[in-house]
Amino acid sequence: MFTLGLEHFLILSAVLFCIGLLGVLTQRNVIKVIMCLEIMLNAVNIALIAFSQYITPVALTGQIFAIFVMVVAAAEVAVGIAIVFSVYRNKESVDMENFNILKW
């Protein structure tokens, strides 16, 4: 049996981040893209808190960064879903193909 260390959390974080990246690059449904973005942000939070636990265990710098990442994630998902609604109202679709109306 291995002993739990910083590397294991970082590898878990990397696996989740890459799964999220794969989803953002390949999914067609915009809501699924937002969900994969949330996976990526969670992976980053795991890495930050692991660093906080193992490298700055008293100052807790990584945990404070993780709190601000959560704030930005909440703001991002609210604005993102508002944009999805407003495009859905015009185009009747949530496919990534139709999210090109800003294209010149």
């Binding site: 590397e7 999220g20 809501i31 699924k32 949330e38 795991i46 959560m70 909440a74 879903i81």
Partner: protein
């Protein structure tokens, strides 16, 4: 014991993250995402971050997944597009290469791990560094302004003309 819990949590987390990608029904994908959020909260508990585990449950499981499920309900019968062809494999290769690069970096870096035992509870030190002297109080204020502007922006975007 901790290793066993960590292994179990990471298996559930990776399986549910893959489930978000591959499950066809988007509502079930959202349920997989909720499972992932809960296992991430468990990982936070393993890292002695008790406050952040509670915040993870409150914000992600309580608020963000509700927002996502409402979005799914309101856009339920959206038609599906064509699956993308070879670009899917390109994206897979890119994600795999990124993982290899990160894993290589993690394994080959000598982190200076502190031997200090973890704090018993983190709420008080977190509050002191967020709101106390010489802390992150300005950033807390900026975060408040960011959240307010995000709410106003969401309302402005979503409002019927």
């Amino acid at each position: 014991m901790l290793e066993l819990v960590f292994g179990l949590l990471s298996v559930i987390a990776v399986v549910s993250a893959i489930g978000v990608l591959v499950v066809r029904d988007i509502f079930r994908a959202a349920l997989c995402l909720i499972v992932l959020f809960m296992t991430v909260a468990g990982v936070y508990l393993l890292l002695h971050a008790d406050f952040l585990a509670i915040v993870q449950i409150l914000i992600y499981v309580g608020a963000i997944s509700v927002l996502i499920i409402v979005a799914i309900m309101l856009t339920r019968d959206a038609r599906h597009g064509q699956p993308l062809g070879y670009l899917k494999y390109v994206a897979g290769v890119v994600a795999f290469l990124l993982f290899c690069a990160i894993a290589f970096g993690v394994i080959n870096t000598a982190f200076t791990v502190q031997a200090t035992p973890p704090l018993e509870q983190t709420i008080q030190p977190l509050g002191k560094s967020l709101f106390g002297d010489g802390g992150y109080f300005l950033i807390v204020e900026i975060a408040a302004v960011l959240l307010l502007s995000a709410i106003l922006g969401a309302i402005a975007v979503i409002r019927e003309k």
